[in-house]
């Protein structure tokens, strides 16, 4: 993932958490402005989106598609195994095994590619969002 998609991942995580907060509350809508993030969520009976009608931001340049995808830890875990450097994997294939309290589960490749980097040591404690592997997309 490039820096751009990192920000997107953060935004998606934030939006998910806010949606959970809204659904657990009695609020009809929720408008959160935090740093450069602004999110409006509403139930059918909620208010109008305050972000509508504001000046549209200038279009930004499309982020160049990175050929290399950084695979990061989805949560804290121990890195149990990883694919080897140079391994070719297809989409949906296991590229690492994570372990939480001695229970293992696979981490799958979202796209086909070649492992071109190993960023964390097998056997170590990995934290959320920590880089694990670098996957180069096969053209």
């Amino acid at each position: 993932m490039t820096g751009k998609t990192d920000a997107a991942a953060v935004a998606i995580n934030n939006a998910r958490a806010l949606l959970g907060t809204l659904l657990a509350s009695s609020f009809q809508d929720m408008h959160v402005v935090s740093g450069d993030m602004e999110i409006f969520l509403a139930r059918p009976a909620g208010g109008a989106n305050p972000m509508r009608g504001q000046a549209a931001p200038a279009p930004t340049e499309a982020a160049p598609l990175g050929k290399d995808t950084l695979i990061k830890a989805p949560h804290v875990a121990t890195l149990f195994t990883t694919a080897a450097l140079g391994d070719r994997v297809s989409a949906g294939q296991e590229i690492a095994t994570l372990s939480v309290l001695d229970e293992q589960f696979p981490l799958l490749a979202a796209i086909a590619g070649t492992i071109v980097g190993i960023k964390s040591a097998v056997g170590s404690l990995i934290e959320f969002d920590q880089p694990l592997l670098l996957l180069r997309q096969i053209e």
Binding site: N13, A17, T21, H75, V76, A77, L125, E127, F128, Q130
Partner: protein
């Protein structure tokens, strides 16, 4: 045997409080954080932080397997759950036990038993703790009148199968009990398909009182006096004080004895709080529930006892016995705590996360602030909105109130709306000063008055 490295499975002011308590005992700390809390006051003070997961609490603070895995893999031999989150989920101490980590709290079976309202009531009854007077099932209108006469009015008729207030009718006398029986029973049939009713005494103006307990897990229990938490909004406490100045000494002694007897009957281990309804008009108290954790408002008990409850929690979890006997617990003076939330009172207490731009906390004699905030600190929107607890101590309630008023006046927070202004109004109100409050006072008296003034 004592804990060498403590995992702190919480956030906000209580995480900071626990880290400080551990450090005072010479214990290392590892703090669990979500991605939203990587930069926090507790994180800067802890020896290490571990990022569990994304901001969503369900995928970070509320996942017991992730929490215990992180604790085990960072070499922690103890885990403090704080309050909220997983603190009263028996799965957490069970997982800790499976992996050789001392849990700072009660046994999981005790947490389960106390978390079940019916079992907790049965345990309280067995320990001789007074419960709200009530009836078994009532089958006819005549039964309802007879039971109402026995219990004393006003009474609530409630559906056995009920919940959420449906099938619930208030009766102020025998005639209303008879009429109410038919109405409540019909409502219960319509709502739940079961017209079975029972009755319970209704206390229109009750105080919420609670006893701070600490047990060694072997039957020894000491108390640190009671707290009065009657200033509430929608069952959320806003102001807590110790002691309950409205309670006469003979009743206070009974209250403490009841709470200690209940905790001792289950060999309660670590900190807990027994909560009661105090019927001021009748001068009686009734058991509500036990909270099997350290509570938000524990500082007021610390202020009147001069005793650090969180340090004691950590010592007991490490295998130590109680460090004080009941006769060594000396209670004196009066303490009041205000929970300061980032909420917009004018907009129905809407949580208002954001960045603190100015943070000027009060100082002075008898003033304590438990907070993780500072200028530039961020209040993430994903969790509760508490920014701190202002606690004051005085030789008596009047002195505590006057110190609290001064402290609130000099407390400046900018960047987000807070409840400081509401606390100023509470503390200045004659009902509060003269201690005429009850659990519905804020909603029935103060908030309507504020609304009128604003209109």
């Amino acid at each position: 045997m004592s804990i060498k490295r403590l995992f702190v499975a919480n956030r906000g002011e209580i995480a900071l409080r626990i880290v400080r308590a551990a450090q005072s005992l010479g214990i290392e700390t590892v703090l669990a954080v979500s991605a939203a809390d990587i930069d926090s006051a507790a994180g800067r003070l802890a020896d290490r932080t571990v990022v569990l997961g994304p901001p969503s609490a369900a995928k970070s603070y509320l996942d017991p397997r992730l929490v215990v895995h992180a604790a085990r893999e960072t070499g922690c031999d103890g885990l403090h759950p704080g309050y909220g989150f997983l603190s009263e989920r028996a799965i957490l101490p069970r997982l800790c036990a499976d992996h050789g980590i001392a849990f700072v709290g009660p046994e999981p079976d005790v947490i389960d038993a106390l978390g079940d309202k019916l079992r907790a009531r049965a345990m309280a009854h067995a320990a001789g703790v007074p419960l709200v007077p009530g009836s078994d099932c009532v089958a006819t209108a005549a039964d309802a009148r007879r039971e109402g006469d026995r219990i004393g009015y006003p009474v609530l008729l409630k559906a056995s199968a009920g919940g959420g207030g449906r099938g619930m009718v208030l009766a102020n006398n025998g005639d209303e009990a008879e009429a109410g029986f038919h109405r409540a029973s019909a409502e219960a049939v319509a709502a739940f398909g079961d017209g079975t009713l029972f009755m319970e005494r209704f206390v229109p103006q009750a105080r919420h009182v609670e006893v701070q307990l600490m047990g060694d897990g072997k039957g020894q229990v000491v108390h640190f006096g009671e707290r009065d938490c009657s200033v509430q909004r929608r069952y959320q406490k806003l102001v807590e004080e110790a002691p309950c100045a409205a309670m006469p000494d003979h009743l206070r002694a009974q209250l403490h004895a009841s709470a200690v007897a209940l905790a001792a009957s289950v060999n309660y281990r670590n900190a807990g709080t027994a909560e009661f309804l105090f019927d001021v008009a009748r001068q009686e108290f009734y058991f509500i529930e036990v909270n099997a954790r350290i509570q938000v408002e524990h500082p007021v008990s610390e202020m009147i006892s001069g005793f650090d409850l969180v340090q004691e929690q950590i010592r007991i979890a490490g295998g130590a016995g109680l460090s004080v006997s009941q006769t060594q617990v000396k209670l004196s003076g009066h303490a009041i705590e205000c929970r300061i939330n980032a909420e917009d009172v004018a907009r129905d207490f809407q949580p208002s996360p954001g960045r603190i731009t100015k943070w000027q906390p009060p100082e002075g004699q008898g003033v304590r602030l438990d907070s993780h905030m500072s200028a530039g600190a961020m209040i993430p929107p994903f969790y509760d909105s508490m920014v701190g607890k202002l606690i004051v101590y005085g030789k008596d309630r009047a002195e505590a109130i006057s110190r609290l008023a001064v402290a609130l006046d000099s407390f400046v927070v900018e960047g987000v709306p807070t409840t400081i202004g509401l606390h100023r109004q509470i503390v200045a109100h004659p009902d509060f000063i003269e201690n005429r409050i009850h659990t519905r006072w804020l909603e029935q008296v103060l908030l309507p008055q504020i609304g009128k003034k604003a209109a």
